[in-house]
C-alpha cells in the first residue's frame, strides 16, 4: 500500500458523497424492512451539503477536512445516523490531525478512531446488527493488507478491493443477526432474515471507493 494525499482524500469523500446521494432510495428501502425507512434520506441530507459546499471546506489538512465533514453531518443529518456518522468523522479528523499525507498506518488509525467513536456514541458492539458489522471486518482486512506482500505494488488498489469485498460479505451476514440496537431492535426475532441497512451501505460505499481508486491509481 501507498501514501494518500489530500487529493486522494478528496476522491474518497466525493465518491462517498455521490454514492450516498445516488443510493438514498435504496438505503432507505433497506431501513424500511425492520426500521423506519429514513436512513438513506437522512444521510443524503448531510452528504448533499458536503457535495455542494466541499470546495469551500478547509483543505489545509486531512484532519481539518474530516472534521468539517463531521460537523456538516452532525448539523444536517437527523436520526441515529447524524450522531453516529458525525462522531465517526469528527474522531477520524482528530486522529488525522494536521497531516497532509496519510501513510497506510494513519488510515487504519483514522478508521479505528471512527469505530471507537461510533461505539461510544451508540453503545453498540460487534454482532448487534449495525454498520459496525461491516466496517470493523473491512478495517481488519485493510490492516492485514499492510503486511501482505501479495497486496502491494498497485497503490493499494487490491487491498482496498479486498476490504470492500469483505464489507459486502459481512453486510450479507448481518441477515442472520438479531438486531440489538436502533429501531430494528424493537422488532425482536423479526429482525432476523434481512440485512442491516447501515452495514449494507458500508459495503456499497467501499465498493464505489475501490472502483474510483483503481480508476485513478490502478495499473
Amino acid at each position: 500500500m501507498a501514501q494518500a494525499s489530500i487529493d486522494d482524500l478528496d476522491l474518497v469523500l466525493m465518491t462517498m458523497a455521490k454514492t450516498i446521494v445516488d443510493n438514498a432510495d435504496y438505503f432507505a428501502h433497506l431501513d424500511s424492512i425492520v426500521g423506519d425507512g429514513d436512513f438513506g434520506y437522512s444521510l443524503r441530507n448531510g452528504w448533499e451539503v458536503v457535495l455542494s459546499d466541499y470546495d469551500g471546506f478547509d483543505h489545509s489538512s486531512a484532519g481539518a477536512l474530516l472534521k468539517k465533514v463531521g460537523l456538516t453531518l452532525t448539523s444536517k443529518v437527523g436520526g441515529v445516523s447524524g450522531p453516529i456518522w458525525g462522531t465517526a468523522f469528527l474522531r477520524g479528523g482528530v486522529a488525522a490531525g494536521d497531516r497532509t499525507e496519510l501513510a497506510p498506518e494513519d488510515v487504519i488509525a483514522i478508521l479505528r478512531a471512527a469505530i471507537t467513536g461510533i461505539m461510544a456514541r451508540g453503545g453498540a458492539s460487534l454482532g448487534e446488527k449495525t454498520l459496525l458489522d461491516a466496517l470493523v471486518p473491512a478495517t481488519d482486512s485493510l490492516e492485514a493488507a499492510i503486511g501482505d506482500p501479495a497486496l502491494q505494488g498497485d497503490h493499494g488498489a487490491a487491498a482496498l478491493q479486498r476490504a470492500a469485498d469483505v464489507a459486502v460479505k459481512a453486510a450479507e451476514e448481518t441477515k442472520g443477526m438479531l438486531a440489538m440496537r436502533g429501531r430494528a431492535a424493537y422488532t425482536g426475532e423479526r429482525s432476523i432474515g434481512s440485512v442491516d441497512a447501515g452495514a449494507t451501505a458500508i459495503g456499497v460505499i467501499l465498493q464505489a471507493i475501490s472502483a474510483a481508486w483503481r480508476e485513478k491509481h490502478g495499473k
Binding site: 429514513d38 441530507n45 444536517k76 430494528a184 424493537y186 422488532t187
Partner: protein, 331 residues
C-alpha cells in the same frame, strides 16, 4: 402517494409555516432549525421546555407548543430525530436563567442528538436536564439495552411538566414530576395499515386486508407480531392485558385513559375503543378520572391506535386539569 404536498422535501417547512400563520402571533418559526416556539418565551422566570423528535407524529410535537405545554419544538425530518445543530441552536435561543428541560423520547437517534447537543450547550454554560420518556410496553425484553420507546404517553409528561412550569416549578421539581409521570404511564398500540413518508413516496410496509400489526411503534417500524385482524373488543383485551399487569394498575386506582389515533383511524372508532376499554377497566375496579380520545401522537396517516393509561394522584390530577393553550384546538 396521495397527499396535499408541493415538493416532498419541503413538507416539514411548509406545514411548520402553516402552524405559525394559524397561531395569530402566539408562535414564532425559525426555518433554519425547524423551530416552532412561543413568541413570549424564553423568560427568566420559567424553565424552557423543549422537545425535538421526528416529524410525522403531528400534532406531536410542533402543534403542542404553547402556554402550559412545550415552549419550543425542533423536529427533524419525518421519522428522523433532529440533527444536533437544531438541538443546540434551539436550546441557546430558548435559554432561561431557570434552565432548560429536554424531553426526549427514548430512541437511540433522539437520545444521541440530545446528548451531543447538551454537551455542547453545557460547554457554553447552559443548564440542562433531560427527561426520558419510555412508556411502550410492547418493547418487553429488558436485556435489550435500548430500552422501551416513548410513544403516546409523552403527551401526559408534557402536560404535567408544562402545567407545573407555568406555576413556577424549578428544574429539579420538573424532573421529579416528569419522572413520576413516566413511572406511572404505560402504552401499547396496534396498526391496521402502513403509512407513506413524503420523501419515500411508497408505504413503509405491506399488510394484508385481514392482518394487524401488534405492538406498533410510531415510526412505521414493525411491531412485535403480525396476527389476524380481530374484533374491537378482542383488540382492547389484548392491549389491556399487556398494559394493566405491567405497572400494574390495580383495583382502586384512578387513571387517565387515552385512546390515541395513529392518523388514519376515524375518531368514531377511537370512541368505540374508548367505550370498551372504559368498561373493562371499570370491571377491574380501575376508575377513569379523565378521558383523552383523539390524535395525540400519530404515524402520518397510519390506521391504528394506542391505548395509554396513566395512574394519577392528586398532584397529577391538578396538573392534567390545569389550562393549556396550543395550536390544535377546535374553537
Amino acid at each position: 402517494m396521495k397527499k396535499f404536498l408541493n415538493d416532498p422535501k419541503q413538507f416539514v417547512p411548509e406545514f411548520l409555516e402553516g402552524i405559525q400563520l394559524a397561531s395569530d402571533g402566539a408562535l414564532k418559526y425559525e426555518p433554519k432549525y425547524n423551530l416552532i416556539y412561543r413568541a413570549d418565551m424564553p423568560s427568566d422566570s420559567k424553565v424552557s421546555i423543549i422537545q425535538g423528535s421526528g416529524s410525522g407524529h403531528e400534532p406531536a410535537h410542533t402543534m403542542i407548543v404553547g402556554k402550559g405545554m412545550l415552549d419550543a419544538a425542533c423536529p427533524g425530518d419525518v421519522f428522523a430525530g433532529p440533527p444536533v445543530d437544531f438541538v443546540v441552536e434551539t436550546s441557546k435561543l430558548m435559554n432561561s436563567k431557570m434552565g432548560i428541560l429536554h424531553i426526549v423520547n427514548n430512541y437511540t437517534g433522539d437520545r444521541a442528538a440530545f446528548e451531543m447537543g447538551r454537551e455542547l450547550c453545557e460547554a457554553e454554560g447552559l443548564r440542562i436536564e433531560t427527561l426520558l420518556v419510555n412508556d411502550d410496553v410492547a418493547v418487553k425484553d429488558s436485556t435489550w439495552t435500548v430500552g422501551r420507546r416513548g410513544v403516546a404517553g409523552n403527551f401526559f409528561v408534557i402536560k404535567a411538566v408544562g402545567a407545573a412550569s407555568e406555576k413556577g416549578a424549578d428544574l429539579d421539581e420538573l424532573m421529579r414530576i416528569g419522572n413520576k409521570v413516566v413511572a406511572n404511564v404505560r402504552t401499547m398500540g396496534i396498526a391496521l395499515s402502513s403509512c407513506t413518508p413524503p420523501t419515500r413516496g411508497t408505504p413503509l410496509f405491506e399488510i394484508a386486508e385481514d392482518e394487524m400489526e401488534v405492538g406498533i411503534g410510531i415510526h412505521g417500524e414493525p411491531g412485535r407480531q403480525r396476527t389476524k385482524l380481530v374484533p374491537a373488543t378482542e383488540i382492547v383485551d389484548l392491549l389491556l392485558n399487556a398494559i394493566v399487569p405491567d405497572l400494574p394498575f390495580k383495583d382502586g386506582d384512578e387513571v387517565a385513559l387515552m385512546v390515541n389515533g395513529l392518523g388514519g383511524t376515524t375518531i368514531a372508532e377511537l370512541y368505540l375503543l374508548y367505550g370498551i376499554a372504559h368498561k373493562k377497566l371499570a370491571a377491574k375496579g380501575i376508575k377513569v378520572f379523565r378521558s383523552y380520545v383523539g390524535e395525540y401522537c400519530t404515524s402520518l396517516e397510519m390506521a391504528g391506535a394506542h391505548i395509554s393509561i396513566l395512574k394519577v394522584d392528586d398532584e397529577i390530577k391538578d396538573l392534567l386539569l390545569a389550562p393549556a393553550d396550543v395550536s390544535i384546538r377546535i374553537f
